[in-house]
C-alpha cells in the first residue's frame, strides 16, 4: 500500500511557482504516502533532502510564503500530544499557501467513541489533499493509507516510524558535515520505544553511515543488529569517535512500570555530559528529537553548548515538511 501511484496532483504542478529552478531533472516522488523511511530508496531520500534545502530560503524571506500549494488542503490529525511536529507541519503548509486544519483528539476518546476508520472516512468526505497523522498505535498511518485516496504522511505511529524526524535529522547532518556516508553516528537511549531511532536507523544506514546504538539492555530490542547497526553496552564505547551523537528522550510514558529503576539512575548512567562527550570527535554534533528532558538524557550545558544543533533540527523540520508536502502533491524538483 505504500507503493501507491501518484497521479492525482501531478496535473496541477505545471505553471506553479516552484521555489528552485536550479535543477533540470524531473525526478519526483512516485508514491502516494509517506509512511516510513523503510520504504524509501536512497535516491528518494536525496531528492527530499535536496528539495528541502532549496525550500529553506523561503523561511528567511520577509514575506514567508509562496503560492505553490494554493488551493490544497492539509489536515493534521494528532491523536498524541505534540507541539513541535504539529506546528512544524502547519507552518510548512502555510508557507506553501495550503489551507490547514488541525485536529487534536485523544486516543482514549477514539477508543470510546468513533473509530479511526470512521474518523478517516469523515475527513475524506471533506476532500482534503493531504492528511498528516500521529497516533500512539503502530500502523495507524497504514490503516489510513490503505483506506483513503488522499496522501497520508506519518507524523509518528507508536514506536514504529517517524519519517519526517529522520529526514530533518539527515538534512541537519548533511548540512553540518557535508555528507552522511561514512559518518559514525551514535544513537543513545530507549531504542525499543523509539520511532525516531527506527526511522533514523533505516535512513542513516541507507545513506551509508555507521550507526551505533546504546542504552540500558532492556531498552535494546531483540535482533536490532539485523537492522545494520552495532550495539554497544556502555555509553563510553558508543560515543567514542562519534561524528554525531543523537540522544533520545527517555519516554517513561511508553514504558512498563518495571522497566527502569528511576530517572536519577538513568541520568547517572546514560546522560550525555561534558565528561563523556570528550570521547567523541572534537567536531561532534549533538542532536535530540525533542522534547528534551534537561538533566536526564542530556545535561543543560551540552544541550545549550557549542556542539548542539538541536534548534537547527527544528528549523530544518519546517523545510523537510515543506519538501514532502510539495513532493507528495506532485511537485518535482
Amino acid at each position: 500500500m505504500t507503493q501507491g501511484l501518484i497521479t492525482r496532483a501531478r496535473i496541477c504542478a505545471g505553471g506553479r511557482s516552484t521555489p528552485a529552478r536550479r535543477v533540470e531533472d524531473t525526478m519526483s516522488l512516485s508514491r502516494k504516502d509517506m509512511l516510513g523511511i523503510r520504504d524509501l530508496s536512497r535516491e528518494e531520500i536525496v531528492l527530499i533532502l535536496d528539495t528541502a534545502e532549496s525550500f529553506k530560503e523561503i523561511s528567511d524571506r520577509t514575506i514567508k510564503k509562496v503560492p505553490t500549494l494554493r488551493g490544497k488542503t492539509v489536515i493534521t490529525l494528532f491523536f498524541e500530544a505534540s507541539t513541535r511536529t504539529r506546528t512544524s507541519f502547519e507552518i510548512a503548509a502555510k508557507r506553501l499557501s495550503a489551507d490547514t486544519i488541525n485536529i487534536s483528539a485523544s486516543a482514549s476518546s477514539v477508543v470510546k467513541g468513533e473509530t479511526l476508520i470512521d474518523t478517516a472516512r469523515n475527513l475524506e468526505s471533506m476532500h482534503p489533499d493531504i492528511i498528516v497523522i500521529r497516533h500512539s498505535a503502530a500502523g495507524a498511518a497504514h490503516i489510513l493509507a490503505g483506506l483513503l485516496e488522499q496522501s497520508i504522511i506519518n507524523a509518528g505511529d507508536g514506536a514504529h516510524e517517524h519519517p519526517t524526524q529522520a529526514l530533518l535529522d539527515m538534512l541537519t547532518i548533511r548540512e553540518k558535515k557535508g555528507k552522511i556516508e561514512g559518518l559514525r553516528v551514535a544513537i543513545v537511549g530507549d531504542i525499543a520505544h523509539s520511532r525516531v531511532a527506527r526511522s533514523n536507523i533505516y535512513g542513516l544506514t541507507k545513506m551509508g553511515a555507521q550507526v551505533v546504538v546504546c542504552g540500558p539492555a532492556m531498552m535494546i530490542p531483540r535482533d536490532i543488529e539485523r537492522m545494520g547497526v552495532t550495539v554497544r553496552r556502555t555509553m563510553n564505547d558508543a560515543i567514542r569517535d562519534a561524528d554525531v551523537v543523537m540522544m533520545l528522550r527517555m519516554q517513561l510514558e511508553r514504558q512498563q512500570e518495571n522497566l527502569f529503576p528511576s530517572l536519577r539512575e538513568y541520568a547517572q548512567q546514560f546522560s550525555l555530559n561534558r565528561d563523556n562527550i570528550k570521547r567523541a570527535k572534537d567536531d561532534v554534533i549533538v542532536m535530540h528529537p525533542g522534547p528534551i528532558n534537561r538533566g536526564v538524557e542530556i545535561t543543560p550545558e551540552i544541550a545549550d553548548g557549542p556542539h548542539s544543533v538541536i534548534l537547527e533540527q527544528v528549523t530544518n523540520g519546517v523545510a523537510v515538511r515543506m519538501a514532502l508536502l510539495y513532493l507528495l502533491s506532485g511537485g518535482s524538483k
Binding site: 498505535a137 503502530a138 507508536g158 536490532i224
Partner: protein, 434 residues
C-alpha cells in the same frame, strides 16, 4: 434411512484401515465396512441411497477440539448454530468449545445450555469444555464432578493462563479423579504483558511490543513438571514455539502423560505476515518465526504434537477494524483448517493417515469421547475429503458469523466435500454426487 458410500479410499487409523472400501450406514450407525457391498435386494423398500466416492477419501468425522463458539454472551460474533454450521462446512462432525463465554462455562447450567443449543442446531456434535476456575479468574476450582455429569469433556481456562501453580496442580489432580483432561493455555503473563506480536526481528522493526517465545515455554515446562510430579496428564493447547515442541517431545520420551495440539496458522504463517499491521494476523499465541514453524511441522511429523485444532476465535469488525494495538486476539479457522492441514500432506510432511489421526483419532482419544472411528457400531460421523479440489478462500461465503481470517483470497488444494453426522448429510459441496 440407509446410506451406502461406495468406492472411496477409507482411512481409519483407529482400525489401521487404509483401503478402497464401501461403507454401509444404517440408523445413524456404521453398519458394515468392506469391499463390494451390494445395495441389497432390488425389491426391498429399504434400498440404501448410494453415493459414489471414487477418488475421494472417506475418514472418520474430523474433530476440532479447540473452538470458541461465543454463545452465550457474544452472539454477535458467533452462535452455537453458526459455529456448528461452520464446523460441518469445514469437514468437522465434532467440535469442542472453550469456556470463555459470558457467563463463563463454569457451572452446570451453562454446560447444559450449550448442549441444548447444539441439539437445536443439529449440525455437528458439540462438546463443552468447562472452566478450570470459577469465572476463569484463576482462584477457585469449578465443580469438576457436576460439570462432567452435565456433559463437559475437559477443563480449560483457555484465553487466560492458570498463573497459580498450586491451583494448576490441584486442577490436574482433581481432573485425574474423573479421568478428564486439563487443557492448558500456556502463557506467563509477566513475560507477555503488553505484547502484541512475537518478539523478534519483525517486532523490532515494526516497533510493536513483543511476546517472547519463553512466555509460552516456561509455562509448558511448568505444566509438564506438574504432570510428572503428580502422575496426572495434561494437554498443551495451541503450541506455537520450537521450545514447546522440544519440551513436549522430551517429556513424552520420559514417560510423562502429556499431549499437545497446534493450530494451522502456526505451521502456515510466520511473524512476517504482521508487516502490513493486519489485525487478522493478531492472535494469542502470536505467529512465530520461521524456525518455530519448521519445528511445529517436525513435531507433527514425529507425533510429538498429537492434534491439529483450529482455535476458531470469531471476532466482529468492531473488534478487528481498529488500530493493531486495540484489536482483539484471534482468528476463525474451522472452514480453512482442513485445507491448510492438507498442505502438510501435499508437501510430504504428513501422510494422509497421519493427518486423519491428528484431526480425528487423536482428538477423540485426548478428550475420551466415543468418536474418531469407523468401527461397525460407531456413530456414522464421516468426513469425505477431495484431496485435490482446488478452491479459493472467500470469507464472504463462510458459515461463520465472523470474517477475521488471514487466508481470504488464498488458493488452497483439497477440502471436505461431504460431512455426515449420525448418518445424515449435513454438508455437501456442488460437484459431488449425493
Amino acid at each position: 434411512m440407509k446410506l451406502l458410500l461406495k468406492g472411496g479410499r477409507v482411512i481409519d487409523p483407529s482400525q489401521g484401515v487404509d483401503a478402497v472400501a464401501d461403507i454401509l450406514i444404517e440408523d445413524g450407525k456404521i453398519s458394515r465396512i468392506e469391499q463390494g457391498i451390494s445395495p441389497s435386494k432390488p425389491q426391498s423398500k429399504d434400498v440404501p441411497r448410494v453415493i459414489d466416492l471414487k477418488g475421494k477419501i472417506v475418514a472418520p468425522g474430523l474433530i476440532d477440539m479447540h473452538t470458541h463458539l461465543r454463545e452465550p454472551g457474544f452472539e454477535y460474533k458467533e452462535t452455537i448454530l453458526t459455529g456448528s454450521e461452520a464446523a460441518v462446512a469445514g469437514g468437522f462432525t465434532t467440535i469442542a468449545c472453550m469456556a470463555n463465554t459470558d457467563p463463563v462455562n463454569d457451572n452446570r447450567s451453562v454446560t447444559e445450555f450449550i448442549l441444548k443449543q447444539a441439539r437445536l442446531a443439529s449440525m455437528a456434535h458439540v462438546y463443552p469444555i468447562a472452566a478450570i476456575s470459577k469465572g476463569q479468574n484463576g482462584k477457585v476450582l469449578t465443580e469438576f464432578g457436576d460439570l462432567k455429569s452435565a456433559g463437559a469433556v475437559a477443563f480449560s481456562d483457555d484465553g487466560n493462563p492458570v498463573v497459580d501453580s498450586g491451583l494448576m496442580r490441584h486442577a490436574l489432580e482433581y481432573a485425574y479423579s474423573f479421568d478428564m483432561p486439563v487443557i492448558s493455555h500456556c502463557e506467563d503473563p509477566g513475560l507477555s504483558a503488553g505484547g502484541l506480536m512475537h518478539e523478534g526481528f519483525v517486532s523490532t522493526q515494526l516497533g510493536l511490543p513483543g511476546i517472547p517465545a519463553i512466555a509460552e515455554e516456561i509455562m509448558v515446562a511448568r505444566d509438564i513438571d506438574l504432570a510428572r510430579f503428580t502422575g496426572t496428564r495434561v494437554h498443551i493447547s495451541h503450541v506455537s514455539t520450537a521450545g514447546s515442541v522440544r519440551a513436549v517431545r522430551e517429556a513424552k520420551s520420559g514417560g510423562v502423560d502429556v499431549t499437545a495440539e497446534t493450530a494451522p496458522h502456526y505451521f502456515t504463517l510466520t511473524d512476517e505476515a504482521l508487516r502490513g499491521f493486519s489485525t487478522n494476523c493478531k492472535m494469542y499465541p502470536p505467529l512465530r518465526g520461521a524456525d518455530d514453524v519448521q519445528a511445529i511441522k517436525e513435531g507433527l511429523s514425529d507425533g510429538t504434537i498429537d492434534a491439529i485444532a483450529s482455535d476458531h476465535a470469531p471476532h466482529s469488525s468492531v473488534e478487528k477494524d481498529v488500530e493493531f494495538a486495540y484489536a482483539a486476539n484471534g482468528i476463525i479457522g474451522m472452514e480453512t483448517s482442513l485445507s491448510l492441514s492438507l498442505k502438510l500432506v501435499h508437501d510430504g510432511i504428513l501422510t494422509m493417515p497421519q493427518l486423519i489421526e491428528t484431526m480425528s483419532t487423536n482428538p477423540a482419544r485426548i478428550l475420551k469421547v466415543p468418536k474418531g472411528s469407523l468401527k461397525p457400531g460407531s456413530d456414522a460421523d464421516i468426513t469425505v475429503i477431495d484431496p485435490d479440489a482446488k478452491w479459493t478462500v472467500d470469507t464472504g461465503v463462510f458459515r461463520s458469523k465472523s470474517r477475521n481470517c488471514p487466508f481470504h483470497g488464498w488458493n488452497l488444494v483439497g477440502k471436505a466435500v461431504m460431512t455426515i453426522v449420525d448418518g445424515e448429510i449435513k454438508y455437501t459441496v456442488p460437484g459431488v454426487k449425493a
